[in-house]
Symmetry: C2
Subunit: 138 residues, 2 copies
DNA sequence: ATACTTGCAAATCGTTTGCAATACC
DNA sequence: GGTATTGCAAACGATTTGCAAGTAT
């Protein structure tokens, strides 16, 4: 995992004060090679195992702040669990229902043709496509 | 709203015992002209106003049973709130974020071309497309 | 010095469950 | 009569919040 300096830059860019807790979470989220899909509980456990604990309440608050700041994107695929995606660019998802795991779909892997007319006075904020999968991805 | 006899038929077809509570909810859900998107709380309030109260716990249980029986479809667009759709056929949704309201999109209004390859050993269970709208649909 | 942030514990929200009373066949 | 269903109240899990103590600028 890359160093804290990069995490620091993310926070600065977002205009968030670089506290110890935010640095820990930013590094775990943004300073690894792949994009991630995480829950608050997972990040809480991960910080713990990393030897840099952050209280659960702070994890929740921080993930929400990161989302507001545009560093994360919120995804809802199941009642009662919120996922955060470190990939904030335009893309969609596979959802492995048995495992409760999300996987990015490259933007070009799926194409939406023939979009419907929008109701008057509205604009598209986002289009979410979730391909729900059954079965084992071994 | 059409009579209870039709609601009764829905329950029979689904193999569910026609209790008073189930009949009340089935009628409110299935015996009106449009397809509906409802939450448990809404149905609870509606039964109340209808003069045929059903306890909230029973509303939850019943909506889940209806879903298992294929009479309803569950939709998640927001953390902490589950919607049930009386339209169980293949179709997608507009979601009015400011109002928290769902609206059906006819199946032909949106076309998915170029579907991605699926991971080995998996099959598609369902594809959910939600077009999230900002602004007022007046 | 000041304003912002943290952590804890309590509160909240939507939903589920245990169980005694009740309704259906 | 026997099994399924209901309603209440308590339990639940995820998330949020109030507030006193701690930290960044």
């Amino acid at each position: 995992m890359r160093p804290y300096s990069e995490a620091l830059q993310h926070l600065k860019d977002a205009g968030l004060r670089p506290t110890r807790q935010r640095l820990v979470l930013a590094r775990l989220l943004f300073c690894c090679d792949e994009k991630r899909h995480v829950t608050a509980e997972e990040m809480h456990a991960e910080a713990q195992m990393n030897g840099t604990p952050v209280s659960l309440a702070t994890v929740y608050n921080t993930l929400n702040q990161f989302t507001e700041a545009g560093l994360l994107r919120e995804i809802v695929v199941e009642p009662g669990r919120t996922y955060f995606d470190t990939n904030t660019s335009d893309h969609h998802h596979f959802y492995f229902e048995t495992e409760g795991r999300l996987h990015d779909l490259p933007a070009e892997a799926l194409e939406l043709s023939r979009m419907p007319d929008l109701p008057e006075g509205t604009q598209i904020n986002r289009v979410d496509v979730v391909i729900r999968l059954k079965g084992d991805a071994s």
